[in-house]
């Protein structure tokens, strides 16, 4: 894959766990009758003996994964982010996080982009729920390169990890040299007038916005945070001292996700001007992904607009 290719992270996830499964027979995969959506069907077809379709039984699935992990295996458990984090929140909390067992959770179809399915399938609070659970590493992944790297990093990490992947295609922005590490924030573009902080599928939009801002005479720094927890304060605090003006953009509610994290850290370290773009505490609805993002103020043009307003202040 090369820069600019449009690849769905869910496909990258399915391929990465299959590659991982080839390297280690300790890797097993669980899914709750949505493997053709989460793309764990790629693993299923390669390793049918290590694939467990539990049926439409998410609560059972997450606790069963904990039991499997307790014997030393590494389960990757997939379902839609909404069902994982809302329906099975207690199972994830008690059986996986409290026990600290080595379970990797793939919240597929994270955020708004669920292909017209609408509000019941849109998870705007999955990152908030997962962030609030102790022991849980929380990742909101961007492109295919980052998703693959995160799958391998999660397998190397001993403990529960929530990996959020999206359904829609995302342009590849990283090349093979990308040095992904859990718990690290990245400066993807330097700038001095305003800082845009993004995660997941919103980072390509943040980069586009920064390019547009440059042509408007505004220099924007882009901070990319694939790991929401543990959060890498360094790049953010540096930007607070050097710039002090932030726009956050996330495929999630502004309550409890990236925008919240940024505001919390800045309030403690260096109070700054912050504008948080994302779902503003409302339910979603059906619609084409891009049209939806535009209606809810979460598209490239909104980042540009917010950054311009802030830069003037």
């Amino acid at each position: 894959m090369s820069i600019g290719d449009r690849i769905a992270p869910r496909v990258a996830f399915g391929e990465a766990i299959t590659e991982l499964g080839r390297a280690s027979s300790d890797v097993v995969v669980l899914d709750a009758d949505v493997s053709t959506s989460t793309m764990t069907c790629i693993f299923r077809d390669a390793f049918p003996d290590r694939f467990y379709n539990v049926g439409i039984a998410e609560q059972h699935m997450f606790t069963m994964a904990a039991g499997i992990a307790s014997t030393g295996l590494i389960p990757f458990v997939s379902t839609f982010a909404c069902f994982a984090t809302r329906r099975a929140a207690d199972q994830i909390h008690i059986s996986i996080a409290y026990t600290g067992l080595n379970v990797k959770i793939n919240g597929a179809y994270g955020g708004v982009a669920v292909g017209q399915a609408g509000a019941t399938h849109q998870a705007f609070e999955d990152l908030a729920i997962m962030r609030a659970i102790p022991n849980m590493v929380v990742l909101d992944l961007c492109d295919a390169v980052e998703t693959r790297a995160a799958v391998f990093a999660a397998a190397d990490y001993d403990g529960p990890v929530y990996l959020r992947t999206v359904r829609c295609e995302v342009p590849v922005i990283f090349d093979e040299a990308y040095d992904f590490e859990i718990g690290r924030g990245y400066v993807l573009r330097d700038g001095s007038d305003v800082a845009i902080v993004s995660s997941g599928m919103m980072t390509p939009k943040a980069l586009d916005a920064a390019a547009q801002l440059e042509s408007l005479g505004i220099s924007a720094r882009v901070l990319h945070y694939p790991t929401l927890k543990p959060f890498d304060r360094g790049p953010l605090v540096r930007a607070a001292h050097e710039i002090g003006r932030f726009v956050t953009i996330e495929n999630h509610s502004v309550i409890g996700g990236l925008g919240s994290t940024v505001a919390e850290v800045l309030a403690e370290e260096k109070p700054s001007h912050v504008r948080r773009l994302g779902m503003q505490d409302s339910f979603g609805e059906s619609g084409d992904d891009e049209a939806f993002l535009t209606k809810y103020g979460m598209n490239t043009q909104h980042i540009v607009q917010a950054a311009r307003e802030l830069a003037k202040e």
Partner: protein, 293 residues
């Protein structure tokens, strides 16, 4: 002898009688320790631990393959207490079996204690799965049995669950899975004490016929009087042996609060403070005259 997988095919009658009375004494001791623990703590569940004491005695002194001095021994049999609120009886069994000193029971419920109010696998030797939110134990047990099969290990998994707990949907998700896949080396014991927290089972959500429900889910089902060792022990042994072929459920009929007259079959004794006077009475009834530990 307890570590052996071999079942003595036809134990002679006298040996069997001795064995039963030894286990009855263990169950009595577990009940005594439950009363002491809950009395000492000033809070805690009473009825649920007392109804399951005999199962603990049978499992920890006959059925389970364990090494108390090596609690994480890879091929140990696993036990999951899905009805985690009854853990004082489990702690008593673990202490009696040598996983930690009986003295530790005085620390239950206290800050910084290894003995939490509900089982914590990170804090307590011998605990293989944390629990407390009802309905999850069977799923975890199935996961462990799958792990064993995947790794070619022959350990068995025993899950003890409440009857009220069967209200939880996840229990039936797990039962469906276990039956469909005919999960081996898995035994589910249901402590049917006919009470849950606020009322009787039959007036809350009637489970009858529980055995037929489980059979319809493709489980082998055995029933016994779970407070009578001469019935319970052979039933658990049979369940263990039959589990080589597929999942087995034991419907264990018990009395909540068994062994203590004021608590027996009384819904308010689900959880309650044991006063000094009642503790003395309970210990007397349990044949533990000395109020000191």
């Amino acid at each position: 002898m307890i570590h052996s997988r071999m079942n003595v095919p036809c134990r002679n009658h006298t040996a069997m009688t001795v064995e039963i009375s030894e286990l009855e004494e263990k169950a009595r001791r577990i009940r005594e320790l439950v009363i002491r623990t809950v009395h000492h703590a000033g809070v805690g569940h009473v009825g649920g631990p007392l109804s399951m004491a005999d199962v603990m005695a049978a499992l920890y002194f006959r059925i389970l393959r364990l090494r108390p001095d090596e609690p994480n021994w890879e091929v140990r049999d696993r036990f999951i207490l899905s009805k985690g609120h009854s853990t004082s009886a489990w702690y008593a069994a673990l202490a009696e079996r040598g996983f930690f000193p009986v003295e530790h029971l005085k620390q239950m419920y206290r800050l910084n204690s290894p003995l939490q109010g509900h089982p914590d696998m990170k804090k307590t030797a011998g605990v293989d799965m944390s629990s407390g939110s009802l309905g999850q134990g069977l799923s975890a047990g199935i996961g462990m049995a799958i792990g064993a099969a995947h790794k070619g290990q022959d350990f068995r998994v025993f899950v003890l669950q409440g009857d009220g707990e069967c209200d939880e949907g996840q229990v039936w998700e797990a039962a469906l899975y276990g039956g469909h896949h005919q999960i081996r080396n898995l035994v589910l014991i249901i402590d049917c004490n006919r009470l849950q927290q606020t009322g009787r089972i039959e007036s809350t959500l009637n489970l009858d016929p529980l055995d037929e429900k489980l059979r319809a889910f493709r489980w082998t089902v055995l029933e016994c009087n779970g407070n009578q060792m001469s019935d319970l022990l052979p039933t658990l042994e049979r369940a263990r042996d039959l589990s080589a072929e597929g999942p087995v459920a034991v419907v264990s009929h018990t009395v909540k609060g068994h062994g203590v007259s004021f608590a027996a079959d009384r819904v308010e004794w689900h959880a309650k403070t044991i006063t000094d006077d009642l503790a003395r009475q309970a210990l007397e009834e349990l044949g533990a005259a000395d109020v000191n530990w």
